[in-house]
Amino acid sequence: MDVIEGRVWVFGDNVDTDAIVAGEYLDAPIEETIKHVFASLKPDFVNEVRQGDVIVAGKNFGCGSSRENAPASLKAVGIKCIIAESFARIFFRNAIAIGLPVISALGVPGRFQEGDTASIDFSRSMIVNVTDGDSLHAEPLADEMIEILDSGGILEVLRRHGGGNQ
């Protein structure tokens, strides 16, 4: 996987899936849900987020529902990577499954200000705050996850492995 570099949005602990996209939009098409990302938590987000931005968050990011539209909406608005102190398990799996890189790094909260530039080197599991030169180690991703991310998601893995021929 390549190195990812992007402008940072900072979030706190326990950002739940309802805060990412409210349950109200669970049955909505992605074009609709992306208008409501972080609507109550960070109302400016949808207007100001740019393609290639990165999220830096605290503990238990993505806790709550198994709804895949949470990571899918973040990916659809342009988020390229999420770094968090820790992730809720299902969110983490879902993000990998849809090809959105996620990585946990102990001690990451407080190391970035909103608007800083973060650089994530997956092969070395290294995170750098390009703005102030600070760096820290992240937890390496397993080979299984890298394969899925490199393919662009688990459905692409399925397609390549002959899902279509079954």
């Binding site: 409210a22 198994s66 688990i154 459905l155 492995h161 899902g163």
Partner: protein, 415 residues
Amino acid sequence: MTTAEKILARASGRDIVRPGEYVTAEIDKFMSHDAFAAVHMSLASVGVQKICNPERVVVALDHYVPPPTQRAASIHQLVRDGVRKYGITNFYAERGGIAHQVMMEKGHVLPGQLVVGTDSHTCTYGALGAASCGIGFSEMAYALATGKLWFRVPQTIRFELNGELPFPVSSKDIILKIAGDYSAEAAQYKAVEFSGRASRDMSVESRMTISNMAVEIGAKFCFFETDDKTQAYLSNRTHEPYQEIHFEEPSENMEVYHIDVSEMEPVVAIPHCVDNVKQISQLERLEIHQAILGSCTNGRLEDLRIGAEFIKGKTVHPNVRLLVIPASWEIYRQAMDEGLLSIFLEAGGIILNPSCGPCFGAHMGLLAPGERCISSTNRNFKGRMGSDQAEVFLASPATVITSAVHGYITDPRES
């Protein structure tokens, strides 16, 4: 080995597995609900025409029953299409109930099985000793097509629940208190084993309340041991043989929490986090506008019985709408036969059909800005049940019903 290690080793064809290892395991049972529409679309998008083991798949409509919008109705159409296309015979359309309850009461879950479901509360089946967890719809599509999925072998922690639980304190109070004392991350990526006298004393239904909420403390799997209650529960529902679950002595490095439940008080999770837990006696007078008895957490017969006991001969406070939602048709029918539904009706409660309904903010009882709800459900995130200016408090059935009668959050011991 721990229970999680034994099940993952068996399912991945290994003798032994260790925490932190990655395995590819064969899935014993697959659960899906309204999200099966998305699974079906995902399978179609990569050209999958057949799934591996349709007889292992169970689909039950529950989130949007009956559909509140045209969009939801179209989602159900897609689910039916998929069920037909892939030859899934265990399909419970609108007449089953909440999928987790259906999985358990229709005998689809056995101790020792590895189960995945497109819902975060799939961990509920740990009450019967299954290793069950939630996944998203893309992973479900992959798992259905290949029969397998990757897992990281989790570490295991244990909660030993000692002592006797004083009525009307319930298993809901225990799991909320654990969330409050140890945080919503207490079991992140981990499997949790519940042991001790209070675990053995609990009905399978009460165990389901705890395993249901295991995901609220981050857990991947949750387990209770097999005992005479498990056997009695299963004997009415399935004839399939199964491997009993018995825990090994904890190894030296296993985290074990000893909890004495005999002094426990009713508790409430206050907005907007499940681990924001207070003893009910510490709360100021908080008026409520809605009370919910139901959901996959606390919508079972024993919950309705307790609710009925606490409301019999009383009436719901005029400022409150009480919603009673049996978790399944089977429970609905039993509650009707026992006369519980008429008790709620006489008291002024609204009895809804088995469905997720307001639990995740879709329909049948949403909150306006400034409204406050006390609910037997499992999540109180901001905006989960309607307005993000509303508040949801989580509590046991006894607390919910007592509060509905008084119009403010009330200790059930004062009823």
